[in-house]
Amino acid sequence: MGPLAINELISENTNLFLAFIIGIGFGFILEQSGFSSSRKLAGVFYGYDTVVLKVFFTAAITAMLGLLFFSLFGWIDMDLVYVNPTYLTSAIVGGMIMGAGFIIGGYCPGTSFCGASIGKIDALVFIGGLFIGVFIFGIGYDLWDGMYMAKFLGSPKVSETLGLTDGVFAFLLIIVALGMFWVAEWAEKKFPRAEY
């Protein structure tokens, strides 16, 4: 059955309409969870507010389990679902640059739009920075082309790389996440926090 757009059960135009609806849900939940506040987001790196960790891992696990079960019931064809390709060098270097941007700027792209939508001026400035950053990448593309394309591994699943089945990996990830949630709750008690 799914993915609806790829199996052409819905038209391209309907797909874009649903993108908008899904975006409303995305933005609404991000804001309701407190992702519109940079101080709340940055809290995860100092232990005073770990909402990012909790929401992020709960969401990843929910979606992962959902996809596994949907696939099991035959509701979605996982071969048609886009799996992010792995270019090892750029994934690590890009991730590190993003990590630095995160701790300096206090937002990531999705949350900055969310913050800007309720009037956070720092979020708006962060978005301005995003455009400049993407533009710099675009005009200097030939300079980092080599690094961008280096160490291409195809689109492997992390479970395959580790030699586990998807189900076992998912189970282990849940155990790891529960451990992290326990640490997070402990950290929040230890470090003072305010409401933003």
């Binding site: 929910t62 048609l80 090892l88 700027g105 309720i118 992390v158």
Partner: protein, 177 residues
């Protein structure tokens, strides 16, 4: 602050509930479009459009545009992520309206000035924008959505983002605590 007594500011929802709901949205995105959520892709589309509009000849020559065209046919603004991000603005605004959090302000810790906060936000944005292109997606597009489909790259990017942020956290603590 006197005003906030009249209009009640609601608190945030439970983070685990938020996570489950966000996971369902991500699942819906995969079910409908066969791809996850994302944010930086929409910015890329806008930048590509701007480059093509301002200087078509030099834009056509750049490898950046060719790389973009390989994965996106047609008008770069008529892509899934652009519409999704438009929705994010609407959804965030509605949520802020419901919770009484609509307010123009620069949020910063008491330790730094607004001006410094804005400069840091700009610098962080530039880094994040650049990194998101190199990493083929940001926290939502590469890390979160990648993890949901068990992509190795998604896990690697996620660990690189959070690992680096934790490593640098100590040096930037004055900006947040």
């Amino acid at each position: 602050m006197a005003k906030s007594k009249e209009r009640k500011v609601r608190s945030y929802i439970n983070p685990y509930l938020g996570g489950v709901l966000l996971g369902i949205v991500l699942l819906a995105a995969n079910f409908v479009a066969g791809r996850g959520l994302g944010a930086s892709g929409a910015i890329k589309s806008t930048v590509v459009t701007a480059m093509v509009t301002v200087s078509p000849s030099s834009a056509e020559k750049s490898g950046f545009l060719q790389e973009f065209r390989e994965s996106h046919a047609g008008n770069p603004m008529k892509t899934w992520l652009v519409f999704e991000m438009m929705g994010v603005l609407v959804g965030g605004f509605l949520s802020g309206a419901f919770a009484g959090r609509l307010k123009l302000k620069v949020e910063h810790s008491p330790g730094i000035t607004s001006r410094k906060r804005l400069l840091l936000a700009l610098g962080g944005g530039v880094l994040f924008g650049f990194g998101s292109q190199l990493g083929r997606g940001c926290t939502s597009g590469s890390a979160l959505s990648g993890m949901a489909v068990l992509s190795l790259g998604g896990f690697v990017t996620m660990m690189a983002i959070f690992g680096t942020a934790y490593a640098f956290a100590y040096f930037f603590r004055k900006n947040w605590i």
